[in-house]
Symmetry: C2
Subunit: 475 residues, 2 copies
């Protein structure tokens, strides 16, 4: 049970006879709960469990795209590990997921200078015939530049989108660059193109192409779409700059297989007096296929499981229930998130606060939120409790991640310890997403920041009121 | 035209006016020659030609392994560029080269934890049947550890060599680690193994496997040999550490094709009073196939062509002839170097001084040599002329590179401005050897160091006496 720091009679008097004011309100967090913060932080900063979880997941499961054998192995792994760590109510929530198979892909420049470059099909791309597609190419910067071309300019051509993503700490460069990957193929097809090649949505100069989902429209013919790395895109730009016609050949054996069964894996640290209220910690269990998903999203899985374990090992128990949900198939349509929402239609309002970790292994540099303004003083107090971790205070317009999008749209407040994304898009969706990219020290700091924030979120003495403002557009 | 008021040159002139040793000997370098050093250096430090040569070679030719279409294109490119830059006596020296085709390779762990990892066949490796080879695996550190195993320990097994290369500035870590790649397959085969997988000879944690030549002995059965990246080798080590049997599957379609014609490309800046004496500048035109050979050895090609061009544009002409030789097929048996030596049997003694650049794009950090001790005072004076570039003084036991090995063994002195190899083996023999890995500033500094050293080597007032000591073993 949690301690009462003020007499009930005074509390009642305050409720019935005095208007709300900061000075009269009960404290947002008890002394005991605040004292537990240092225990959590100190344990997090020497934690080895989170790193070991990533090591285990990447070594014993490895790559785990939706529908694959690795996907199934990951679901089994997560249940086993949650049980080992002492979580309760460990169970799965079935999700039907698409099963797209990458196959092999080839990208060659035929003229003016023959070159073959490493390539990856965009996730969900259709394949080509076995002979591939050979066509002249048109280079455009982005969707706006494509739309500005005269009619027929890309008819029967392969369109190369050459825009380069900007490196940012908050990931905003990704938001600006990614529409080409999502919408480029259908936009080019609608204009008559027969194929698309994009400069990877990437901040690195390494020769790794980056994959990621493309989204075909219902109307345009589905055309194959590949990505090449930044250094190869630079080389291709130089071929265009020679002034000579650029002719390309692309080939891909990507294909759709029948849908498959996967599952969200759920485990809890039970609450006490407010056990019916759920603080949900989301991360995703699937990965893209070229890498082993250490950063995306092994790190998120490890942080969330690590936070729940640290809280579970405190002497004082959480008021609200802490529920870790490892979502199926975030990468290729958030099927797990949608299945979770469908299974919890009558429980939406029980999800009183959400956290998501899907942006690498840290460190955490900022605390943002999307809460009802009435709870901003509590968020300020949480921020003060994070002082030893040296964060900056973000705004109240946090977007959250893709897996909590549904709950967030339905008014669930979000607290967002922001993971530093400066280098994240060097690795994101590449073969290079391996354990070697996880900095154990940054991971421990992230664990400390999440543990502090989750814990205080679970102990808040007030009510996490619903957020009523419309969700802001993605920045 | 260039500025003449560079303050450091005044200091240098003061140094040069003071004879280093015996006052009655003629100075090793004339005032004019020493004055030209600052011109060369200042021009090198703002040079754009060398970088553009790498850009052109990697864009217009790209990958160029021995016997490939790129190999032929590179020979044509080099002749064209030498002529464009004003070299004379531009010609080729034919070399017959092996033509090994990589094909595709696959590497999978079957047990305990199924994983597929990116792999590259070692250069020259035989392929497998189409079904590949499936076998239990034995992990050993290196050749010594293999030799220490009991008889029959690797019979019908795949041997995994797990030793990790050490990062060093002078490349000595490579010399220690590379015997596994060169000799591992035949050593394992002699002990009964059916295949070999090595941890890449690499200092990076990126998921690029590194290729490079393996050398089969005449007696052991040729078995297929693959390399995996450091992060994958780490993951494989963890599979072994699980204590469960590790079973692997390897597949490769590598094969030998008939030998092909290639050529060394030669061009000169003619000497004047000592035109019959040749200062040879060597680099190699071929590359391994996965990358486009920007560092290995586009940078060396560009530095040597850039040095010759800078010297050619001086008002004062070189005394000795400066001969740039871009060797065919350094990577897979130094056929170009051997052909050059065969074609120059009667001219060996005319090669009075050699330089080789085959260690990336710099910066140059050291001046080493292998000269007759009588010329060490001249080397000391050259070192002082390099002072603005902040080198350290190396010893007189320089090895030189592979392409000048033959001439060096026959007594030709070598001067070695040492390229910094700290990061070189992050990229060496990988797909990631692209223009993006060339630091233009380091390249310009390297150009300045080589230009200074080559120039003074060509102008030396004394005789470059032959080296009579036996060549030291590779460190």
């Amino acid at each position: 049970m949690r301690k009462q720091n003020y007499p009930i009679s005074i509390g009642l008097l305050l409720i019935f006879f005095t208007p709300a004011s900061a000075a009269d309100k009960p404290p947002a967090f008890s002394r005991t709960d605040l004292a537990a913060v240092s225990t959590l932080r100190e344990r997090a900063l020497v934690d080895t469990t989170a790193y070991q979880l990533i090591e285990s997941l990447t070594t014993e499961v490895g790559t785990r795209p939706a529908g694959s054998a690795g996907d199934k192995a990951a679901v089994a792994w997560a249940q086993r590990e949650m049980q080992r760590l002492g979580f309760v109510n460990v169970h799965t929530v079935e999700a039907i997921v698409p099963h797209w198979e990458r196959g092999e892909a080839e990208f060659s420049v035929l003229t003016p200078y023959p070159q073959t470059m490493p390539t990856l099909a965009l996730g969900g791309s259709v394949g080509t015939s076995n002979e591939g597609i050979e066509a002249d190419a048109v280079m455009v910067k982005d969707l706006g530049a494509l739309a500005a071309l005269p009619s027929g300019a890309v008819k029967d051509k392969i369109v190369f989108f050459g825009n380069r993503m900007e490196r940012t700490r908050d990931g905003s460069g990704y938001g600006k660059a990614v529409p080409v990957r999502a919408g480029g193929p259908s936009a080019a097809s609608a204009a008559g193109a027969v194929g698309v090649v994009i400069r990877s949505i990437s901040t690195s100069n390494l020769r790794f192409p980056h994959t990621g989902t493309t989204r075909y429209t219902a109307t345009a013919t589905r055309i194959p779409a590949l990505a090449i790395s930044n250094p190869d895109a630079d080389a291709l730009v130089r071929q265009f700059q020679s002034g000579q016609p650029v002719r390309l050949r692309i080939r891909s054996s990507s294909r759709d297989l029948p849908q498959a069964r996967s599952a969200n894996v759920v485990g809890e640290i039970p609450g006490t007096d407010l056990a019916n209220e759920i603080v949900i910690l989301g991360a995703h269990l699937d990965s893209w296929d070229p890498g082993v998903g250490a950063l995306d999203d092994g790190a998120g899985v490890a942080i969330m499981m690590g936070v729940a374990r640290l809280i579970n090992e405190l002497d004082v128990k959480p008021r609200r229930t802490i529920r870790v949900v490892l979502f199926a198939n975030e990468e290729f349509g958030t099927s797990g998130s949608l299945a979770y929402l469908a299974a919890n239609q009558t429980n939406v309002s029980r999800h009183v606060l959400g956290f998501e970790a899907d942006f690498g292994a840290g460190p955490v540099w900022r605390l943002s939120s999307r809460v009802n303004p009435a709870q901003l003083p509590a968020v300020d107090q949480i921020f003060r409790a994070l002082a030893p971790l040296k964060l900056v205070r973000g705004d109240n317009a946090a977007r959250g991640g893709a897996d909590l999008e549904g709950l967030s749209k339905l008014g669930m407040p979000i607290l967002e310890p922001s993971l530093d994304g400066t280098d994240y898009f060097d690795v994101h969706h590449t073969a290079d997403d391996t354990l070697a990219k996880v900095d154990p020290k940054a991971l421990r700091q992230s664990l400390a920041a999440f543990a502090t924030t989750v814990w205080l979120g679970a102990q808040y003495s007030g009510t996490w009121e619903r957020v009523t403002e419309p969700k802001p557009p993605r920045r």
